[in-house]
């Protein structure tokens, strides 16, 4: 399976050489998880599916699937979103 980073070897190299953060240069998502009840996601494209047990989020490198219980979106803005609830799994999908 070919990832997007491998698709852009040049960009990747520039990011590594210039020591700039990759989330800025490559537009990669930043996922911050606090314990298993809170989660911040930056650099995403949009919500594909949302129920209280599963959320699918579209990002530049593919979908991120979060499953759990009582999932809520605390806020949802252009820059980032915050999820709360009982998080059970975080999966990256193509």
């Amino acid at each position: 399976m070919k990832t997007r980073i491998q698709e852009h070897p040049f960009k990747n190299r520039i990011a590594e050489a210039s020591e700039l953060p990759k989330d800025v240069v490559m537009g990669q998502p930043v996922v911050t998880v606090l314990g298993r009840t809170e989660m911040n996601i930056e650099n995403y494209r949009g919500i594909i599916e949302y129920t209280d047990v599963m959320i699918r989020i579209q990002t530049k490198i593919g979908q991120i699937r979060i499953t759990g219980k009582n999932l809520r979106v605390d806020y949802y803005t252009n820059d980032d979103m915050k999820l709360t609830g009982q998080i059970e799994a975080i999966e990256y999908q193509k």
Binding site: G46, Y50, T51
Partner: protein
């Protein structure tokens, strides 16, 4: 927290979205910068909060995505105000509140004085009061540079003043001169007037330490009141040992002399004791009258009355002024008055009581002497009890500081004027020796 307060002030809606492409609606909202928060999914629909401003922009998105939108709840200040729009007095009250806050903030509410070590706040406030700078004056009437000038003019030892207004407080910062004494000493050196130390009582000198001037007496000498103990005129001699002039100094010496002090104290045997009249229950007159009062300016309201027909009574009264903060005194005060009746009864002291009273007073007298630097080396004070009064009599032998400063009589130089002029050069040349 601030975010939530802002949301409340701006107002927001809780909406429910149903439809096939609800996620599309969310993404579209995000794309247009419409903020959504506290989202949760309930069955097939989503519930979320949206700001009023956001909700106004949402219409085209609803049309485009074909979702159904239901308002569940309206929250925030705009809806609150709309709901109570008919309560006019509420709005009047709110308006008056802001008006009051604004108008009250145009007055000086407290004067804060900092850096004053030798002068109390009260002294300075009193002075400022005479310059019409006081609590409750209008802020616009405060002239800081005027205050600074006034304080500098009035007090010589205040070397730096800064007045500033912080909110409704007038802050006055002061720097006091702490080198006053040193400066004075320098000045004095240049223009010294000769002073002697003169005995102020008859005594025998037990010790003498001279710092400035020339001692005229020795240890063990008995002196009489008026004798010069230390002279402030130091003779300047030439090579021949003749006095050619005097150098003036302010005499300074520690002189102690031994002397006796007679002591006498009397105490009458009979005294009157105050016995408060006890309240004897129903029928008897109450032995105490009480009044509490409240005063605003010159207007006074009292409850109760202290007027009475007692033969003897003691009246206590207290009054307290209400103040805000540290020193903003309002013209409102409260207090109480109390008149307590008592009877007089003659009593006689017992012998032991007399002794303790007299000896306590004698001890107090001794302590006071010791505070003045007097050392007591012997006493033969005895207590005598008579039929009407008791007395403590005797003498104290003490060692105490002697001498008071007094301007000296200038001593004539025992030479003619011509010779003086001739020896002038000599004097200058030998001044090192004569010192």
């Amino acid at each position: 927290m601030i975010f939530k307060v802002l949301q409340y002030i701006r107002g927001y809606l809780r909406i429910r979205i149903t439809g096939y492409s609800a996620e599309r609606f969310l993404n579209a909202c995000r794309h247009r910068g419409i903020q959504l928060w506290d989202m949760c999914s309930v069955h097939d629909s989503y519930e979320m909060n949206i700001s009023i401003r956001g909700f106004r922009k949402v219409k085209p998105i609803v049309k485009k995505t074909g979702v159904k939108i239901i308002i569940i709840e309206r929250k925030g200040l705009p809806f609150f105000l709309y709901q109570y729009r008919k309560r006019k007095l509420f709005f009047v009250g709110a308006g008056v509140f802001f008006l009051l806050i604004y108008s009250l903030s145009t007055f000086v509410w407290s004067i804060d004085i900092r850096g004053n070590l030798t002068r109390t706040d009260e002294t300075l406030l009193e002075f400022l009061n005479t310059k019409k700078v006081r609590n409750g004056m209008r802020l616009s009437a405060v002239d800081c540079s005027r205050i600074v000038k006034d304080i500098r003019k009035e007090y010589d030892d205040i070397i730096w003043v800064s007045a500033s207004i912080e909110g409704t407080r007038l802050i006055i910062q002061i720097k006091e001169n702490q080198d006053v004494i040193q400066a004075d000493a320098k000045e004095e050196e240049e223009n010294v007037k000769p002073t002697d130390i003169v005995a102020d009582m008859d005594c025998v000198v037990t010790s003498i330490v001279t710092r400035k001037g020339i001692a005229q007496i020795e240890e063990g000498a008995s002196i009489k009141s008026g004798d010069i103990l230390v002279s402030g005129q130091v003779p300047v001699n030439n090579d021949a040992g003749e006095t050619v002039g005097y150098r003036y100094q302010e005499s300074d010496a520690d002189i102690y002399g031994q002397t006796t002090i007679s002591y006498e104290d009397k105490q009458s045997l009979i005294f009157e004791e105050k016995i408060p009249v006890a309240y004897g229950g129903k029928g008897t007159e109450k032995a105490e009258k009480y009044e509490c009062f409240f005063r605003i300016g010159d207007f006074r309201i009292g409850f109760g009355d202290v007027k009475n027909e007692y033969e003897h009574f003691e009246q206590y009264s207290s009054e307290k002024r209400i103040k805000l903060f540290d020193n903003f005194y309002l013209p409102i005060s409260y207090g109480e008055k109390r008149a307590v009746s008592y009877n007089l009864k003659e009593k006689k002291y017992k012998k032991k009581e007399l002794q303790s009273i007299l000896s306590e007073r004698f001890n107090q007298y001794c302590e006071d002497l010791e505070k003045k630097g007097v050392e007591i080396i012997g006493n033969d004070v005895k207590i005598y009890t008579g039929s009407k009064e008791a007395a403590a009599k005797g003498t104290l032998t003490v060692i105490r500081p002697v001498g008071t400063k007094k301007a000296s009589q200038p001593i004539e130089i025992p030479k003619s004027a011509e010779e003086n002029e001739q020896s002038g050069e000599e004097m200058n040349g030998n001044s090192g020796n004569s010192d």
